[in-house]
């Protein structure tokens, strides 16, 4: 066990820093993603390192598609991806994140995965206000079927990416809220001096912290059930944090000029992409039935 980044892990995040810094703070996300895709950032990267990249990009408030790409690209056939990718469950409706610009769309059904390029799908932009580019997708020709078992692996990595992205957004949203509570004076004193608010923010911070570490631990193990448990926790964190942090920041949290919405609206969208808590709980039960743990010795 070691909760510190190793030297190679630190080096990889440093190289992420360099690419982001070189792209500049005002860089277009498309340009940033091109720079990230052109880098050798993922060469020899572990799943945990890929997860850390997804978390870090989100923590910085960047709507990059590279986190998702980082976690899934090594599961796809060699040479298949030359740009962004998007993933969708065939059973679910609604617009798909990054589908407007993805060179590859992965469509998952219960136990199969299909690859589509721009020649087998059509898409139209779907403005959503959730902080990422979305498009409605229509599949117009059969995709390339991936080997059995790939669907489960890709789904788990997709969930890891979403967990990391929620963790990164949650961390920054809490710091943003903390800054507000320290600066905002009401009833003659900073909001940060009201214990009711202090405890609520502390409680939110525990959820955010646990989300990060559960995600990192799940990335290290890279096993569907562990990932699903971390994803459930992340989804629950997003669902509970958004109204809490918005409430603490007040009406300004709805405004673009304040900036909290960068994180809160993305948390909203990411948890919806993960699927509802009931859906994830159902699947966790199915996985538990398939891989029962050692029988519990506790009887009461």
């Amino acid at each position: 066990m070691d909760f510190d980044l190793s030297r190679p892990q630190r080096d990889r995040l440093d190289s992420l820093d360099r690419v982001v810094e070189e792209a500049g703070t005002a860089a277009d996300i498309d340009q940033l993603d091109k720079a990230l895709l052109a880098s050798d950032m993922l060469k020899g990267a572990s799943v945990l390192e890929r997860y850390m990249i997804a978390e870090e990009l989100s923590r910085r408030g960047l709507a990059s598609a590279f986190g998702l790409y980082a976690l899934v690209c090594d599961l796809l056939p060699d040479g298949i991806t030359s740009g962004r990718l998007a993933i969708v469950e065939s059973s679910r409706n609604g617009p798909v994140r990054f589908a407007d610009s993805a060179s590859v769309l992965v469509v998952l059904d219960a136990d199969r995965a299909y690859l589509h390029d721009q020649s087998t799908i059509t898409h139209r932009p779907a403005p959503t206000g959730f902080g990422y580019p979305y498009a409605h997708v229509e599949v117009c020709a059969p995709g390339r079927r991936l080997p059995d078992g790939d669907a489960e692996r890709i789904r788990a990595r997709w969930r890891l990416a979403l967990t990391g992205e929620i963790a990164g957004n949650a961390r920054s949203a809490i710091l943003k809220t903390a800054d507000h509570l320290k600066a905002r004076v009401q009833f003659g004193r900073p909001l940060a001096t009201f214990q009711a608010l202090r405890h609520r923010l502390a409680d939110a911070a525990v959820s955010a912290e646990a989300t990060s570490w559960l995600g990192r631990g799940a990335a290290f193990v890279d096993h569907p059930r562990t990932v699903l448990r971390a994803a459930w926790y992340a989804s629950n964190t997003a669902a509970s944090l958004v109204p809490e942090l918005v409430q603490m920041c007040g009406a300004r949290s709805f405004t673009v000029e304040f900036g909290l919405q960068v994180f809160t609206m993305r948390m909203n969208s990411l948890r919806l992409e993960l699927g509802g808590l009931d859906r994830l709980g159902l699947e966790l039960s199915q996985l538990a039935a398939r891989e029962p743990a050692e029988q519990s010795t506790v009887t009461r």
Binding site: F3, R198, H199, D278
Partner: protein
């Protein structure tokens, strides 16, 4: 960053499990930790652990430990807490009373107490809370007045666990009557059979746990039982309490109960009930969240870094998971939970204790809030990965 056990730690857990399986009667698996606080069986079990160096593996070898890592401290806690805590109240000695004596004790105190604790021969209780000083320990009034080579102690401590079986009390008393807050407090290692020291049970609804009132009526103790410098006990206690806050790995047992509830859901056809799968997922995730945050704190401890913030967060997560698992058990068993000894009944009661034992969980929230909002923010881990 990596999340696997070292060969040494994995071997330790495996050997410990084998030992528990061979030495512990099956009934222990069903006990809530603390339900059997002290007994001849516990003494014998702890003696056997002590012979292997497993009662205090994380202590220095010279004091009866094996110089093992802080990781073995938590492995030990997880395995024994999950098995009904067959160390009884000894876990307190092992987790924080002993380390406090190592840290602040005289050579004589170390020589006398540490060998006995690491051998499993002795039970302790802690004399902290008073009627007017619960979470706000700094408001305590129990007084120890210097009289020549002795101190004379007067006052009352309440809600004390494990006192009826204890041989010693780790007592906080005010030694400077003109002081306020956390200044002017000293620690005393008081034998419970000292004349004037009486212990009486306080009736409660928690049948799995007994609370006691400790009365000190002109209790005379030699100055040699004072731990650490006079009037500066607070610093020692603060350090010791960080060990206590995560010393009982409640999440490990809660995870086993959750697993059992999952099995029972299948056996009893509860899957058709709305929300069961979601709530099982919530319970499972909450237990693992508590586990990983405790591990984060242990990692800091193993590296001799400040662990306060990590401990604060871990403790909040532990309390949450106990409550979530209790609610799930009550939801599933409904009226059956009224039966003493049932899963719902036991889990309800242990979850009711979770937020208070080892200090109010609100103190942990205060600590986290201080990190985020000041004064004296400690944002290191929140501003970078």
């Amino acid at each position: 960053m990596e999340f696997q056990w070292s060969d040494d730690d994995a071997r330790f857990r495996s050997q410990l499990r084998e030992f528990v399986a061979s030495e512990l009667p099956a009934r222990w698996q069903d006990l809530i930790p603390g339900e059997e606080p002290a007994s001849q069986f516990i003494v014998e079990f702890c003696n056997k652990l002590g012979e292997k160096g497993w009662l205090t593996p994380h202590w220095p070898r010279e004091y009866g430990g094996t110089d093992a890592s802080a990781w073995q401290f938590i492995i030990l806690g997880e395995e024994l807490w999950s098995a009904g805590e067959p160390r009884g109240s000894q876990y307190m000695n092992v987790n924080w009373i002993g380390p406090a004596i190592i840290h602040a004790g005289t050579a004589e105190q170390r020589e006398y107490h540490l060998r006995r604790i690491s051998a499993g021969d002795v039970f302790w209780c802690q004399g902290f809370s008073e009627m007017e000083a619960g979470t706000d320990l700094a408001n305590m009034r129990t007084a120890a007045v210097r009289d020549g080579d002795d101190y004379v102690i007067n006052g009352e401590k309440v809600w004390t666990s494990y006192a009826a079986e204890a041989d010693y009390c780790f007592l906080l008393a005010r030694t400077d009557p003109n002081s306020a807050g956390n200044k002017g407090i000293s620690i005393f290692l008081v034998p419970t059979d000292t004349p004037g020291f009486t212990i009486e049970p306080i009736p409660s609804v928690l049948d799995i746990h007994q609370f006691n009132r400790l009365t000190f009526d002109n209790v005379r103790v030699p100055a040699s039982v004072r731990l650490g410098p006079e009037n500066h006990g607070w610093r020692v206690v603060r350090e010791a309490l960080s060990h206590e806050r995560i010393g009982g790995p409640r999440y490990a047992r809660a995870a086993l109960v959750t697993q059992r509830l999952r099995e029972l859901a299948g056996e009893n056809g509860w899957w058709e009930r709305d929300g069961v799968k979601t709530r099982l997922a919530a319970a499972e995730a909450a237990c693992e969240a508590a586990r990983i945050l405790v591990y984060q704190a242990i990692d800091a401890r193993a590296k001799s870094r400040p662990e306060d913030l990590a401990v604060n967060m871990a403790r909040v997560a532990i309390v949450r998971c106990e409550r979530i698992v209790a609610e799930l058990a009550l939801e599933l068993f409904e009226g059956e939970s009224l039966e003493l000894g049932s899963i719902g009944n036991s889990q309800l009661k242990t979850s009711m204790i979770a937020g208070l034992g080892g200090g109010s969980v609100e103190v942990q929230l205060n600590g986290i809030a201080r990190s985020l909002l000041g004064p004296n923010e400690r944002l290191g881990q929140w501003t970078s990965t």
